[in-house]
Symmetry: C2
Amino acid sequence: MTKYEKEIYNIITDSTGHLTVEQIYLELKKKCPKVVLATVYNNVNKLWKAGRIRKISVENMQDRYDRVIKHDHLICQKCGRLADILLEDLTASLRGQMGEEFLFYDLKIFYICPDCRKKDL
Amino acid sequence: MTKYEKEIYNIITDSTGHLTVEQIYLELKKKCPKVVLATVYNNVNKLWKAGRIRKISVENMQDRYDRVIKHDHLICQKCGRLADILLEDLTASLRGQMGEEFLFYDLKIFYICPDCRKKDL
DNA sequence: TAAGTATTTTAGAATCATTCTAATTTGTAT
DNA sequence: ATACAAATTAGAATGATTCTAAAATACTTA
């Protein structure tokens, strides 16, 4: 792992924040003011291809990056905020339903987050 | 529904193809050669906001559009091809696990499609 | 250590998908 | 037919991402 690769990896795994490339870039700049956005793209792609970080795509939102620890995601319908949730593992059930070709799954739950609920009152 | 809205809606619901905006545009052009890409974007967004079509976002792929009939998706890890699959409904289980705030879910299964399997041999 | 090679990073241009703006067209109601 | 609202168009603008070529850094081996 190169210097920036490691820094970027740490930013992603230390944060619970589901960061966008832009946010990673701003965070990294605090430590390395000279870094350039393309470097973040390069390394984030490299890390993702190597399976060391997770990419989260949601309709109409920028991609966000996350640790690879097994968990599902809650997405707020109103504001798009992302939160982690640990739900029952579906692997066995899915493998049962569809057989060996199964690789892995991605489960997203949509809801209205507490903040948006408050605003609605 | 306006003329184009209806046409676009039909193209999406008639097809099993999980079409991209570009593909919808090309299909629509066969019937209406004068139509413009922005019109497809406008109407696809309108339809999506109205809940009449489904948008499917997958990491590193263009958004695709689909019927709203309840089903899950298989995504090929190699070529990105999308297929429908009907799996056990998780609504009850999820509502049980997380309560009333649950709205709906999106489940994607990753696998290697038959075509890519063949190529691998 | 020095030279040579490979890899990473940079800077900025290029690309691609998507949105926006303003003008035009179409449709509808009066 | 006239007036008004909504839809469509054309093309510019934006935003995210990738690409390219040059510069910097790291790595290897003589």
